[in-house]
Structures are given as C-alpha cells and as structure tokens.
C-alpha cells in the first residue's frame, strides 16, 4: 500500500501501543528499587536501593511490613505447574492423535475440550468447591485445584498438537513401518522429531498458564496458598514495594522460560534443516 502517510501514523500508533502494553510494568520495575522500609510505592524515588528484594528473602531487620509468604507458596506453585504440564501435554497429545482420524461425534468432543479454556475460572472454581463440599472431600492445591488447572491448560496443549498433526504427513510413518522399522524406533526417529516443537509449545503453555493461574485456584485450593494467591491477598491491603520486587522477579522468571523455549525451538529447527541437507546430499 502506498499511502505512506497512513503507514507512518499507524507505525507511530503501534509504538505507542507497545508502550501502553509495557509501560506499567516498567514503572513497577523502577519503583521496586525504592528505598525501604519508609519508602512507599510511589514517586519520587527517595533513594535507589535493593532493600525490597532483600526484604523478599527475609534478609532485612524486622519492620512493620510483614514479609510476603512466598517460600512455601513458590514450592507449591512450581510443583503444581510441573504436574499440570505433564498431564496436560500427555492428554493433549493423545486427544490430538485421535483427531487425526475422522470419527462421528468429533465436533462435540472438540467443543467439550475447548470449553475448558473458555469457561471462566471463577465458575469452575465455584463448581469444584461445591462438588468437593457435597462429596466431603478436602480441597487441596494438589487435588481439586490441580484437576482444574489441567481443565484449563489441556485445551491449549490439544489445539497446539492439532495444528502440528494437521501439517504432519502420515505417509512418512507408514513408509517407516513398511520398511520393517519397529513402531518404537519409528516413533523415536520419525514421529517424535516432527511433533517435538508442538510438544514443547504445549508444555510452555501448560506450565506458564498454571504457574500464573489463580481464579480457579482461589476456590479450589483450600488453606495452602500458591504464589498468585499470595499476591491476590495483598490486593485488599496496602501495597508495599516488596510486591513490586516480587513482580519483577516473577516476570524475569517468565522471560527466562520464554527464552529457554525460544532456544530449544531454534535448535530443533536447525537440526531439522541439517537433516534435510544431509538427505539431499
């Protein structure tokens, strides 16, 4: 399109849009370096310091500001995310594998699965709490909350794998079988390398979504807090910069996960390219 005036103004707008997306996080990051314990969660920065980061790890002398209850919560959140990741990815791969063949009722099953990512957490959480109450089951993060996390992340894994299998030529597998290669070896040498990027994406989705999930966890996890619940707890009280420092650390953790994912993806793409070149030679 040669309407360059429009293009320039839209480009400027997009730059502003990106600032709109990242600006608040940047401000939060700056304020996390406020001096403590007397510095509040606002400008101006009285003095730059890492007080609130030390406060987070309990390295500061006791003050009137209670430390965030994150130690146990971090262990729980990571455990929950790993459990959810494994189960969601396995369920996602198997369900998508079934969808490679046409079968009657596939539409209903498809919507049943996708419903899991659409229904708001507050509704499933409430429903699960009611079921647990009626059956007399105690609610725990590793029980009632965990199954809801899978309900939420399994559809993402399923959709990712569905997209991968759609581009996947089954004749490659069949060729391998007909040449007498064992199914196990076929899976290892042919199927798995082809679906690996999808499995990786499904795992990333499941882990990060579960790690940050809280509306399902709120009603379903009982007394023990996960990390997002610990943050949610600070909403109703005065916010101190220690929450900001925690926000910076957890955001960096998310970025590190994304970075690892990007590196692994790049490696897998490069490997695929090298294999293709070898075949040609």
């Amino acid at each position: 399109m040669n309407a360059s005036g429009i293009k320039v103004s839209l480009g400027l707008y997009t730059a502003l849009f990106i600032i709109f997306l990242y600006g608040p996080l940047a401000v939060l990051a700056i304020l996390s370096f406020q001096t403590g314990p007397e510095g509040g969660p606002q400008f101006p920065i009285i003095e730059w310091s890492t007080y609130w980061y030390k406060h987070l790890f309990g390295l500061t002398p006791p003050s009137r500001i209670a430390p965030l209850p994150i130690e146990q919560a971090l262990v729980r959140s990571l455990g929950l995310a790993v459990m959810t990741m494994i189960v969601s990815t396995v369920l996602g791969v198997t369900a998508a594998q079934a969808f490679r063949k046409k079968f009657r009722g596939s539409g209903v099953v498809f919507y049943l699965i996708v419903l899991g990512m659409m229904v708001p957490g507050v509704l499933v959480g409430l429903g699960m709490a009611l079921v647990a109450n009626a059956l007399g089951i105690d609610r725990h993060w590793w029980g009632t909350a965990f199954v809801l996390h899978v309900v939420y992340t399994f559809p993402f894994a399923f959709l990712v794998m569905l997209a991968i299998f759609n581009r996947f030529d089954p004749s490659v597998e069949e060729a391998s079988w007909s040449l007498g290669v064992t199914p196990a070896r076929t899976f290892r040498k042919i199927t798995f390398p082809l679906i690996f990027p999808g499995v990786l994406s499904a795992m990333l989705f499941a882990f990060t979504l579960s790690y940050d999930e809280f509306s399902r966890t709120l009603f379903a996890s009982g007394r023990d807090l996960t990390l997002p619940l610990a943050i949610y707890g600070t909403f109703s009280v005065e916010v101190h910069p220690n929450v900001f420092a925690f926000g910076v650390l957890t955001t960096l953790f998310s970025f590190a996960l994304l970075g690892t994912y990007a590196v692994l993806m790049a490696l897998s793409v490069r490997r695929a390219k090298r294999m293709a070149i070898q075949e040609e030679a």
Binding site: M1, A3, I6, K7, L10, G11, Y13, T14, L21, Y22, P24, L25, V27, L28, P41, F43, P44, L91, A95, Q97, A98, F103, R104, G105, V108, V109, L112, I113, L115, G116, M118, P120, G121, V122, L123, V124, L126, G127, A129, L130, V131, L148, V151, F154, L204, T208, D212, F214, I231, Y232, F235, S236, V239, F244, G247, T250, T251, S254, F255, L258
Partner: protein, 301 residues
Amino acid sequence: MTMAATSHDTPVETAEHHARKQPDRTFWLLAPGALWMLLFLVAPILMMVYVSFWTQTTFKIEPTLTLKSWVTFFSSDTYLGALWTTVRIWLIVLVCTLLVGYPAALFVGLFVKNKTLSTALLVLCVIPFWTSFLIRVLAWRPMLGKEGAINMILMKLGVVTQPIEVLLFSELSVIIGMTQIYCVFMVGPIAFMLGRIDPSVIEAAQDLGASFWRIFRTIILPLSMPGVVVGAIFVSVMVLGEFATSAALSGRKVNLLGNIIVTQVGSLKWAFAAVAGVVLTILMGAVVAALLRVVDLRKEL
C-alpha cells in the same frame, strides 16, 4: 457418550481387521481427556446449577430444593446492580479493546511487509500473556495513583495543577486496566485475518482509483470481521468472568458478578454464589451466541 457412539460406526465391510482396530484406538485415545472434562468441568458446572436451588441457612446449604436464592437475587438492588455493572463494563471494555487494538493490528497485519518484523511485533504484543496477570493488574496502581506516574508527568508538563484523583479506585481505572490486559486478544485474531488478505485485491482497488477510506470500508473491514468476532468472543468471555481487576483497581467501588461470587463464597453463602454463577453463565452464553450470529465463523475461516 459420544465416544460410545464412535465404536458403533465401524465400517466392517472393508479391511475388517484394520477397521475393527481403528475406532477402538480412537476411543482409548480420547477417553482420558474427555472423561477428565466431563468429571472436572461439566459436572462442577451442573453442580453449580443444582446448588442454586438448594436451601441456604446461615452457614450451610441443604439439598432441599427452593427458589428462595433466585428470588433474593432478583429482588436485591446489590445483585441487580452488579449484573448491570458487569454488562456496562463488558460493553465499554469490548469497544475500547477494539478501538485501541484495531489500528495496531492493521499496521502489523497489513502494512508491515517484512515477515520477520511483523512476527516480531506480534510476539512483542503477546509476550505479556505469559507473565503474571495479577502483577500486570497491580502495575496500574503506581501508574494511576494520586502520586502515580501519569499524574506526575501531567503536573510536570503543566497540563494539570492538581493531581487527578479519579484515575485510580474508580470505574475508569478498571476500564483502563482491562483494556490493556485484554486488547492483545483483539490484536492477534484481527492481525491474523488481515495478513491473509490477498495484496492484489487492494492493489486492484488502488489502480481503479479508490481512496484509502473506501478500500478500508469495502475491502479491509469486511475481510477482517471474522478476526474481530473471534477477538470479541475472547475478550467478552474473559471480561465477564473477571473479578481481580476490579478488586485491585476499583477500591471496592466496582462490583462485578465475579466479585459477588467471591464475597458470597467468603461468607459461606454457597447457594447465592451459585445463583450469581448461573446468571453469569447464561449471560456469557447469550453474548457468545449473539457474536457467532454476526459472522458465520465456519464459513469464513
């Protein structure tokens, strides 16, 4: 239920051995996932509907069926007010995400010809989705507060002499926060649809002398409509089920149906919470159904 149906339609005539095995395989591959969804998604929602008709006593619910909770909900100004607030906030945020997101999607999807750059921009938009939702909500507090970044900048620039207090702990702050968090879900689908427009169609229109606005109205906008509808469904479902943004940014001034559910559960009023939940479910179903009527997605995608 549906899986049971699949095992019946075996095409026995051809390749008997193979055909016998295939539906079984499909069944066993689907059974774990489908069962998980039936037990932990469908059953809880049905339970919620059922409990909304239970009898609520001070701290307990009893399985004696009654319409009392429903009558209380629809005769209470608080609950009806929450329903109205939910609808209002949803409509405003939906329009805001569309207005804020569309131009960005237009640039990324249509104007950026370099494939790498357009992917990079899209990734940049989507990255926040992988970071903590609660932290992103909380990040608006130091932005909008009385001594926040926006007030500070406006006062430095001399635009205002007094800090604007209405920015935080008001309906406005909830709308700003939600717009920022959810507009990504608008940008993605719209940019995707725009990226699929054949450039030669637009070139042809230009060669025939159509102005940009004419091209936008007659080609770009209609072809991007499926993206708008998909984005609107995402945003609607998420905004209607919200309670955290209003809890963090409104200072309890904005009560959505989600907030009602949280408070009712907090005071063990399970039956009332269930009624609010069912109302929310019906509202959401109606909204999604209405949006799907605007554009036939199956035909368009």
